[in-house]
């Protein structure tokens, strides 16, 4: 378990944010950590489930940051499903 900085934004928001996650977090947790800085602040809360996208591909919700091989400070996007 180690602190792991990422660049991220929630789809539809206007700015890229610095998001500290943990390398043991799974993508569900990562999506929440990104969403909390946008959803209900600037992006409408629709209640829909969220997914993490990296290099254009959706990552499985149970995959951890460590397993994903994303390097620190790479960019991910989080978006509502559908």
């Amino acid at each position: 378990m180690a602190l792991f900085p990422l660049q991220a934004n929630f789809r539809g928001d206007f700015v890229v944010l610095l998001i500290p996650v943990d390398d043991g977090d799974d993508m569900t947790a990562v999506a929440e950590k990104v969403a909390q800085h946008s959803i209900g602040l600037r992006v409408v809360d629709t209640g829909a489930p969220k997914r993490v996208y990296y290099n254009g591909k959706e990552l499985p919700p149970r995959m951890t940051v460590k397993e994903s091989g994303i390097p620190p400070m790479d960019w991910i996007e989080v978006a509502y499903v559908g």
């Binding site: 890229v16 610095l18 998001i19 800085h37 602040l41 600037r42 992006v43 400070m73 978006a79």
Partner: protein, 494 residues
């Protein structure tokens, strides 16, 4: 005794150029400070400018200008003019005062470098006046806000800002250091006096002066107009320098200097002037949108002049620059407002119902891209959830322009690359190009995010960041209208 007409003596007296015999040219004009681009000594001697002032005239004119603005200042000091100004306008001038006065002194350093290392006597003469001009601009623009300190502590940042690591200041200082504090004489003439002054500030000061008069800020209007008369003169150093470069086959080098600095200037201009014009200036005083201003003044007037000299539009004009006119300052504005405790002025949201109509009319699609985000903010304000209108993390900033990386549309990635193992993030292809065109110049400079990750900002949270940036509680920005824009909107909805 009959006096000689000025035209009979001026050029002879001014053009004290000579070929060196006891020293070599490189000792007199070291490349690092002067930079010849390979153009030989006497090729520069044809450098000329249209003003042809003498020192006596210069002093006389400048004294008159100072008399004018300082007497207006002392007259207005006895009135309540400032108290009656629109709150958004006050924010616009506070932003200006933090970003500009101390860099005027930096510009004085750049002018002094040209006054010593410029390659023609005529140029060094003109740059001597420029050095004095920039001192005057620094002095006046620190003194005027100093007089307003009793009314508002945020004016303290007219002097303080440039001595801090506030994020917008890092962006501004990085630009100004690149352009004039740490630049060679020839590049300074092309980048500061031609690109930045002729292209941006000379026109911007005209625009700001007329806006100031429109909102009733006679003091600021007089100050800015007076400064502009100096700019109009000393910015003339750019064109003759550019001409000599073109005549000597260095068009490509000159073009690169312009392309680099036009882009860097544009980003800061969008941040300061873009927001001020389209959000802070009261609606009834807006004569044109920022985009219209850019199209009219920068795209048409400046670029026409540029093309007349045989130069080309910057390579990124169609693909990057023109598209940014539609969106980039809207994103910056939203960011500045949301991160408002990190600036030294009170951002005016500028999104009342009437203002939103204006924005949608001037920028079709504004509601769909930005209005939607403001809707969520407005709901939170109305419901009293003010905590949700504040940030809890840092934005990523661009390693070139040092402004947060924003996106024109959904799903657009920042440009992440590396240089000698260092990871870099850029907001766009052009910022990446500028940085990579001279990595040795930029590589040791850390962005505010780099500093945060390196542990230089402690404690590593918003409080630590504010402390690092020098922001104190009495200065930290808040909504300029105390959220009144939103009460009006909700009343209108009911």
């Amino acid at each position: 005794m009959p006096k000689l007409q000025r035209r009979d003596y001026y050029d002879t007296a001014r053009d004290m150029n000579w070929a060196f015999s006891y020293v070599n040219e490189d000792e007199v004009f070291p490349e690092e400070l002067s930079k010849s681009f390979g153009i030989k000594g006497d090729e520069w001697w044809g450098w000329d400018e249209p003003y042809k002032l003498t020192y006596r005239e210069y002093v006389h004119n400048q004294a008159g200008k100072d008399d004018g603005i300082y007497s207006i200042r002392s007259t207005i000091a006895r009135s309540n003019l400032y108290d009656n100004l629109d709150v958004g306008w006050k924010s616009a001038i506070k932003a200006h005062y933090g970003a500009i006065p101390v860099p005027e002194y930096f510009a004085s350093i750049g002018e002094a470098r040209m006054a010593r290392f410029g390659r023609a006597a005529a140029w060094r003469n003109m740059a001597t006046f420029g050095t004095l001009d920039e001192c005057r601009h620094g002095q006046a623009q620190i003194y005027f806000p100093y007089c307003l300190l009793g009314k508002d502590p945020q004016f303290d940042w007219a002097h303080k800002a440039m001595h801090t690591n506030e994020w917008g200041v890092i962006a501004a200082r990085s630009l100004f250091d690149d352009m004039f504090t740490a630049n060679d004489a020839v590049s300074t003439a092309i980048q500061l006096t031609f690109t930045f002054e002729t292209g941006f500030t000379n026109l911007q000061f005209l625009g700001m002066a007329s806006d100031a008069l429109h909102v009733g800020d006679i003091e600021f209007g007089a100050l800015i107009s007076s400064i502009q008369t100096d700019e109009a003169r000393h910015s003339q150093q750019g064109e003759p320098t550019l001409r000599i470069m073109i005549q000597n086959g260095k068009k490509a080098e000159a073009q690169k200097l312009v392309d680099q600095m036009f882009w860097r200037s544009w980003k800061l201009f969008a941040l300061l002037t873009g927001i001020s014009m389209d959000y802070y200036t009261p609606l009834e005083s807006r004569t044109m949108s920022f985009k219209e201003f850019m199209q009219d003044w920068i795209c048409r007037q400046f670029m026409d002049q540029f093309k007349d000299l045989g130069m080309d539009l910057p390579w990124y004009w169609e693909k990057h620059f023109l598209p940014e006119l539609d969106w980039v300052h809207h994103a910056y504005h939203l960011g500045v407002w949301f991160w408002r405790p990190t600036v030294w002025w009170n951002p005016d949201a500028g999104v009342s119902a009437a203002e939103r109509d204006w924005l949608e009319q001037k920028y079709p699609g504004w509601n769909a891209r930005f209005g939607k985000l403001w809707d969520v903010i407005a709901d939170n304000v109305r419901a009293g959830r003010i905590g949700k209108t504040y940030p809890a993390t840092l934005p990523i900033v661009c390693n070139c322009c040092h402004i947060p990386i924003c996106s024109p549309s959904v799903g657009q990635a920042p440009r992440i690359t590396s240089h000698n193992g260092r990871k870099l993030s850029f907001c766009c292809e052009v910022c990446e190009w500028v940085w990579k065109s001279q990595p040795e110049r930029y590589d040791t400079h850390l962005s505010v995010v780099d500093r945060f990750l390196a542990g230089q900002i402690q404690p590593p949270n918003l409080e630590g960041a504010l402390q690092y940036m020098g922001i104190t509680p009495e200065v930290a920005g808040n909504d300029a209208e105390g959220y009144a824009w939103n009460r009006m909107a909700s009343l209108a909805a009911e």
